[in-house]
């Protein structure tokens, strides 16, 4: 079971959109993952215990998990590439 953290400015707005898409995609390709959301100001002590962070905004340097930029989910451009990147980073 992988743990994925979705990060945005509120932990509610854009991250809900991203979480929905990541959840559906991972289920479709058969990767078991627990998906959580948070807001970026909660991350000042890093993101311990997560295998991957998907963020629509800049995360602090204290985050040492691999980070994927999730802006494409909002603009609708480059979604496939981002999903592939998420899949690949979770399979490593």
């Amino acid at each position: 079971m992988k743990r994925v953290l979705i990060v945005c400015g509120t932990g509610v707005a854009t991250s809900t959109v991203v979480a929905d898409k990541v959840r559906k995609h991972l289920a479709a390709v058969g990767i078991e993952a627990k998906i959580e959301q948070t807001k970026v100001t909660e991350l000042h002590r890093g993101a311990k215990g997560y295998d991957l962070v998907v963020a629509t905004t800049q995360v602090p340097a204290s985050v040492d998990a691999p980070v994927v930029k999730g802006l494409s989910f909002l603009t609708g451009m480059g979604v496939e590439e981002t999903l592939a990147e998420i899949e690949q980073k979770l399979s490593d």
Binding site: V7, C8, G9, T10, G11, V12, A13, T14, S15, T16, V17, D20, Q37, K39, V40, T41, E42, H44, R45, A55, T56, T57, Q58, V59, P60, A61, S62, L71, L74, T75, G76
Partner: protein, 456 residues
Amino acid sequence: MESITSYITDLGAAVALPFIIFVFALVLRQGAGDSLRAALKVGIGFIGINLVIGLLANVVGPAARAMAENFGIELTVLDVGWPASAAIAFGTQVGALAIPVGLVVNVVMLGIGLTRTLDIDLWNYWHIAFSGALVAVATGSTIAGVAAAAVHMVIILALADWSQPLIEDYYGFDNVSLPHGTSVAYAVFAIPMNALFERIPGLRDWRADPESIQQRFGVLGESTVLGAVLGLIIGILGYGFDDPRADSIAILALAINLAAAMYLLPKMVAVLMEALIPISEGAQSLVRKRFPGRTVYIGLDSAIAIGAPAVIAVSLLLVPITLLLAVVLPGNRVLPLVDLATIPFIVCIMVPIFKGNLIRSLIGGTVAMAATLYISTGLAAMVTETSASVGFDSGEGATEISSLVDGGNPLSGLIVLAGRMGWAGLAILAVLGVAFAYLIKSMVSRRAEVEEEPAL
């Protein structure tokens, strides 16, 4: 007719809104089953928000009133924050119309070339719904409210176009603009202030490091810890310690309850948002089809800009400053609570205008927060009335509520002011709004021409 309206009002938004969402979802071809689930979730989100507002009012309200009696700190209007404000806005009749009306305004403005932004962040249409709903309450006319919301949309799109290059340079988002009702409104403060700062020699070169501030004050960005600490402070000031047993219980309970409210309110909104995703996407693809391949800025939520270290650093420092302002500013009655966590949205377009300079942003932010507190105090009675009209329970003792976002937003304030003058006020504002959009449009076209000239 009147009996129908009163029936819908008595149903309350938590029941009426699911019906509207169900129809929207069906129209956007989401299928009956999914539409029903989305509709129910919207209702559930509403019930959840109502529960947490009740908790906030019943637990913090009496403590705030006690604090007023003990120390003369008259902060009896509770800041219920953006999650509740958005729900109140979407729960009104104007709110139900805000998304279609906002989209039509956007599409028409794109069509006649008055904006370059296609605002696909439908959730944040709640900002225009909010000002519109307040105008509807002030005037007693839903149509006036809808008109106010439309004017608000025009101004937001113009400000988004104007600030787009700043956003692109500072945050590095290509062809993305941020037509976010809260963030763009404060550009109006930042522009003249930055011009002023440029003339003050000491201020021009004074710098501070955002990373170290983020590390040192990071805990102020955690809603749970902030809520608990605020609860302790308000509790001690409100209840004192003359009866150690009873008072310590009351103070500790307040700390946990306030932490719970600040943590839970956004979670309840997430339930609402999850339900709105399919609808928002359906509407998005509908609009996108009409503008294939045209150079437009894609309008997104400014949540994407919040992570920049300078934005976080300024916001963290503004938390204690805002609390201090609330206490010392004569005439302010708002007790800042939930929206202490929303300050990043207030400063995230100001910071690029101040070129990321922390000291300038902090001074600018302080002035903006002072204005926000006054506007929020001024709109409190109307926000409370609007909130009651959608069936939110603000607790025993008729606690007054408001919010910093958008109850203290300068644009909401301006629009409500115009709305109070009736149709004449709204007409003047509409003319000014369109003129403003036209001015920005000419500026943006000139900017584009300069960019397209070949480099020598």
